[in-house]
Homo-oligomer: 343 residues x 2
């Protein structure tokens, strides 16, 4: 039972068993030109008989690895899981296998992971919300087909799929203004890197918030707490906002997790939602939809974004010199029980 496994079946074994050349087997495997139907049948039979599976390392040395690498900054973020679902759904029946690297937040971890994927000769990369410098992304995309998801700013080297975060922020502000709110505050993710500044979704959301407030003639009411897109950041941000001399009647949190943290701070302050204060998030994660929470949130359709990214990538692998594409999806607002009209 514990004897070492016998040597793996190789293409040579298959060729011998089918009494053809290894070239012929390779052609059948890749559906390449130059094999008659009779040949295909014979080889396929041998493959099935022997239970042959191609060695990916050997393939990678000459041709493709049939592997697509996905990098995402954080596994716990359910929105990223949605994107991943879209990717796997799109690629489920293809010849490609998706592999992802676990949580790589921070530029250093990200660089390491991208290197690792390039080292492994992956056929294509999907980078979700990468923080690396644009020059670095461009360089990577030059040797490996790449799609960048959730980061604004187009490139001639890689395709992009983004959500229209400015429109998303406007949806929230419009909704709250429609409910009679005027003192609407925002909790943003503080970005330090000046180059990344304009390209990251958090910046876009903050800008969208400011633009929408201005459009409603509420520039005087603009109030932003600058923390981070985490539960702790939401807690802190809400505390800051509530301590203002003239606290807001509504808070637009830049992400659902931020809203969760804000909920705790609001409860601690003895206030109720949405009685005393309205609260909206962004991402429409499963958490937002969960009954007891029931958070009004902006829905980005992560599945669609993932599917689009996968489609673009496969397309580019097949045709590396085509012009790059930028897909922008429109978000929608899902209103739930955390936002209500001013009394």
């Amino acid at each position: 039972m514990d004897r070492p496994a016998p040597r793996r079946v190789t293409i040579v074994d298959v060729a011998r068993h089918a009494q053809v050349s290894t070239t012929a087997v390779s052609k059948v495997l890749r559906n390449a030109y130059g094999a008659s139907p009779a040949m295909r049948l014979k080889v396929q039979q041998a493959i099935d008989d022997l239970g042959y599976r191609p060695n990916a390392a050997a393939r990678g040395l000459r041709g493709q690895t049939y592997t697509i690498g996905v990098m995402l900054p954080e596994l716990r973020n359910l929105f990223f899981a949605d994107i991943l679902d879209g990717i796997t759904a799109q690629l489920g029946d293809s010849v490609y296998q998706v592999l992802l690297a676990p949580g790589c937040n921070g530029e250093k971890a990200e660089a390491r992971v991208i290197d690792a994927m390039v080292d492994r000769s992956m056929d294509g990369l999907i980078l979700i919300a990468p923080v690396s410098a644009k020059a670095r992304l461009t360089e990577v995309a030059r040797h490996t087909p790449t799609v960048v998801v959730g980061r604004h700013g187009s490139s001639t080297a890689y395709d992009t799929v983004t959500d229209d975060d400015i429109a998303g922020a406007a949806l929230v502000v419009d909704h709250l203004v429609g409910l009679g709110h005027r003192r609407i505050a925002h909790i943003e993710h503080h970005e330090t890197d000046r180059v990344r500044l304009a390209e990251m979704p958090n910046t876009q959301r903050a800008n969208g918030y400011r633009q929408a407030m201005t459009a409603h003639g509420l520039e005087a009411e603009i109030d932003v707490a600058s923390t981070s897109y985490t539960q702790a950041g939401g807690y802190l941000g809400a505390q800051q906002l509530l301590a203002r001399p003239n606290p807001p009647t509504a808070i637009f949190a830049g992400a659902d997790v931020v809203a969760l943290g804000a909920m705790e701070a609001i409860a601690e302050a003895g206030l109720t939602i949405p009685g005393d204060i309205s609260l909206a998030g962004y991402d429409n994660s499963a958490l937002a939809a969960f009954g007891p929470i029931s958070l009004t949130s902006v829905d980005q359709d992560g599945r669609q974004m993932g599917a689009d990214a996968a489609r673009l990538l496969v397309d580019r692998i097949g045709q590396r010199d085509r012009r790059t594409a930028q897909i922008t999806l429109s978000p929608t607002l899902v209103t739930r029980r955390t936002t209500a009209a001013l009394p």
Copy 2:
């Protein structure tokens, strides 16, 4: 800017640049025996000069790939994310890169993913709660070092890391009995496969529940709803239990998500938690800890499990013929606001 990338630097380039043989470079790369300190220095310098990175595919063809594959059934389950954290923390500074396959629930998807990892000559595999037949796991483990996490039943082919689910279930029952409850029901995951039956954690939890109830002389009160470890399963299970002629005063859900579903059903029935009914979950996921939910739950220390698994795996890669080890961790109970004493 968009010119195609130049050919990648290979070991031959490094050897030429350092004026040594490729063998020497290879030795330095792998810290292998047979290279003098002077040689190491010279080669390292050349590697840095040229920005050389070894090609993983070529390595895989001869030696190791320095890649460890992790398979987990579900990305959204936060407990699995904890395990992954433990794995990456343990492997962070090692030479190994962790890659995981996205959600592979079901035997078929699981087989596909395991095949894909074996095809890619990964150095080792960590399988989290796999559902494949034991014979299959044994076969895989025979050619690739493997650690199975969260599945009971020892093997002579692979190491295992599990939580003591029987003890965990007992913790819950003891706690509820201590609060005065007698009619304590359980929502379990229905398992159909007879072979898997004894090895899966859900079965262990249900058995642990029955044993603990019996130990307290409450065999007459044993009441189990058999659904699934999902939110919908919890909703359904709680509905069934509440419809009994003599409904329970406490429910032990086999997993946190199950408890969430149960919460909804209980609220719909017009009952309050913990006033009318106490509720406990299993996994102590971030959801359970979240303020508004505050679910009493069994904590498994996923990080520790992951770290142990990674340690065992690296150990086995280095010494493939050592006896297999079984690590069992003891869970603890985290009491929160969903369980209370009977009035």
